[in-house]
């Protein structure tokens, strides 16, 4: 009896794999990690080179030296003195903040109607949202530009040269945010909505209480994406503000930085780092929301 139990139990107990298998696994793991470490080093290299150059003197940055000697920390102060970085940053934050606020206020109800309200034609409308999302912005930039120019003539306010043509459309819903918010709203269990309805909640109350509370991570991810997108945006600011340096955002300013500071690679790289810094800091503060959001766009899309 005991022998039989022992024989039956033996295969169940976790046996140590034979030495050759263990060695093979170990070597594979080592190879895997070495390749990963090499690729990681390649990914970090540009950051390292940019930082090292940002700390060089002007002449050294023009040589083929790799290591700054001596370290010029003052470059980071010079950058702020030589270029209106603060002005550009202020414009960027205005664009980013107002666009994100408007996009949330306008896209949340739309995403709710597309995910949690039942009505005829809903799927067709969602398909139209998706198609709008797929089309390149270049398709409609010309007529929209003309529209802002004509509207400006009509009401006597020059939209061209300001950031308003970039901000205002976000107050009327944004296809990508609607899509992403809808995906988030669909993950909320139906029971919460039913419970709220039984308790006599109208749809508007459900939206402002249940949805806003339960979809907080999703809304945070959409806000982060929108801020990242507007912070990085180059095409639209170039179109509308390139002739008016007063309203330049960081991306435009940085691209024109080299024409302001002829051959000073060290200062250019210092400015590059300054522009990269806010995004990277925000990323480290909100890494989880970022990763969740990116994953959701791909897996459920």
């Amino acid at each position: 009896m005991t022998a039989a139990v022992g024989a039956a139990a033996a295969p169940l107990a976790r046996r140590k794999p034979p030495f050759t298998v263990r060695r093979r696994r170990f070597l594979l793991a080592v190879a895997n990690h070495s390749v990963l470490i090499v690729v990681t080093a390649l990914f970090l290299a540009p950051f390292v080179f940019i930082t090292l150059t940002a700390l060089m003197s002007t002449n050294q940055a023009l040589s083929s030296d790799l290591w700054p000697h001596p370290f010029h920390w003052g470059n980071f102060i010079d950058v702020f003195r030589d270029a209106p970085l603060w002005r550009w940053a202020l414009n960027t934050f205005m664009y980013s903040g107002l666009a994100t606020l408007g996009l949330l206020v306008s896209s949340i109800p739309v995403a709710y109607a597309l995910s949690r309200l039942r009505w005829r034609g809903r799927d067709a409308v969602f398909l139209v949202v998706l198609i709008a999302l797929m089309l390149p912005p270049q398709v409609s930039v010309v007529p929209i530009y003309v529209m802002w120019a004509k509207l400006g003539d009509f009401i006597g306010f020059h939209f061209i040269g300001t950031l308003w043509p970039l901000i205002l459309p976000n107050w009327l819903g944004d296809a990508f945010s609607i899509f992403l918010l809808r995906q988030f709203f669909l993950t909320i269990p139906e029971e919460y909505f039913d419970a709220a309805r039984v308790d006599g909640c109208g749809e508007l109350r459900i939206l402002t209480t249940v949805v806003l509370r339960l979809a907080k991570p999703g809304i945070a991810a959409v806000a982060l994406f929108s801020m990242l997108y507007t912070f990085n945006d180059f095409f639209l600011p170039l179109l509308y503000t390139s002739d008016n340096p007063h309203n330049w955002v960081l991306s435009i300013g940085l691209s024109e930085f080299r024409s302001l500071r002829q051959v000073q690679w060290n200062l250019t790289m210092a400015a590059t780092l300054v522009v990269m810094a806010p995004v990277i800091i925000v990323f480290f503060l909100a890494q989880k929301a970022f990763v969740e959001g990116v994953t959701l766009t791909g897996v459920k899309g």
């Binding site: 270049q138 990085n232 180059f234 080299r258």
Partner: protein, 334 residues
């Protein structure tokens, strides 16, 4: 006393039904109004910033328009110029196709490969993932500036490094042959988003499929091809669609790289004719559209280009989505 009441009750009997129907109708109305209210931002935004511009763009494409004087109807002249005479269209189309054809497969393969390795790694996954994702966050203008400096032919770190081994590095952004490959490298550096999507998909492949394939004697490569790849095929499709769509609107990196590299070559602040530098090798379709519309103010001609771009992107999107059922495996629900 009872009879009139009873009679009234009999008369009133059908009334609740009517009321209920009316109440139902008005509830449906209220619901419809609610949907309309919730959808209103999108309906407005879609009409003003999408529907109307498309119609207006179609109209402008048949006119000569410079923004100052009224549009002048010229029939199909823009299109015949576009297809028959414009010397820059073909290079721009060729560059765009080259970029899509080279960079989409490379990005997918690279992201998939790194994701596989990350999925196998036992330690440090979090650190690796963070480092791989960081470059994707770098603003495109900043990343491009950094790459133009790093790949600067004379004194840049990469060519200095290659010089240590006696290798003469290429001219990168200064050479018509190497400018696009340099942009491909820049794209590979910013692979983070794709990588995270692939990593999630690879980790999601059902364990039991892997194990049963292993029991059937399938080796690592066969398991990869017959289990992992089919399981994540929707993600591969997603990556290809997004890659092609982004390829069709490729602008910022090309614009900034040409601008900075040409400035570096001439050392002059001449920023009028540097798009596509060097020798139109980075002149992509959206860059040419920008040039015609917003440098030369040929709004009619730029609209014709936009209509062509619209047709191509619609065709590509539909083609891929319609054919997807044939080669993509969707687990569970169809």
């Amino acid at each position: 006393m009872g009879t009139p009441d009873a009679g009234a009750a009999v008369l009133a009997a059908p009334r609740p039904a009517i009321d209920r129907r009316r109440a139902k109708k008005s509830a449906a109305w209220r619901r419809r109004r609610l949907v309309l209210l919730f959808m209103s931002p999108w309906i407005l935004g879609f009409s003003v910033f999408f529907g109307y511009p498309l119609v207006f763009s179609a109209y402008l494409s048949f006119t000569h328009y410079d923004l100052l004087s009224a549009p002048r109807w010229i029939g199909t002249a823009n299109y015949s110029y576009l297809f028959e005479q414009d010397q820059q269209i073909w290079p721009a189309v060729k560059n765009t196709l080259w970029m899509i054809g080279v960079s989409v497969p490379l990005n997918v393969l690279f992201a998939f490969g790194v994701a596989l390795m990350l999925a196998r790694a036992r330690t440090g996954v979090g650190i690796f993932r963070t480092i791989f994702y960081l470059p994707a966050l770098a603003p495109p203008v900043a990343a491009t500036l950094g790459f133009v400096y790093i790949l600067n032919p004379a004194t840049g770190p990469i060519n200095s490094f290659l010089g240590l081994f006696g290798i003469q590095g290429p001219l990168w952004f200064q050479s018509p042959d190497w400018a696009k490959p340099s942009l491909v490298l820049l794209g590979l550096w910013g692979i983070g988003n794709l990588l995270i999507i692939f990593l999630a998909a690879v980790l999601d492949v059902p364990k039991h499929l892997q194990e049963s394939a292993e029991l059937d004697g399938a080796g690592g490569l066969r398991r990869l091809w017959y289990v992992t790849v089919p399981s994540i095929s929707p993600v591969i499709l997603f990556a290809v669609v997004i890659g092609v769509i982004q390829g069709l609107q490729y602008f910022t990196q090309a614009y900034v790289a040409a601008n900075i590299a040409s400035g570096q070559a001439s050392q002059a602040g001449d920023t009028t004719s540097n798009l596509g530098y060097p020798e139109d090798s980075t002149l992509f379709y959206p860059v040419l559209l920008y040039q015609n519309g917003f440098r030369y103010f040929q709004m009619g001609y730029a609209s014709a280009m936009a209509m062509l771009l619209l047709g191509v992107s619609l065709a590509v999107t539909l083609l891929i989505l319609v054919n997807s059922r044939r080669f993509v495996h969707y687990a569970g629900a169809k």
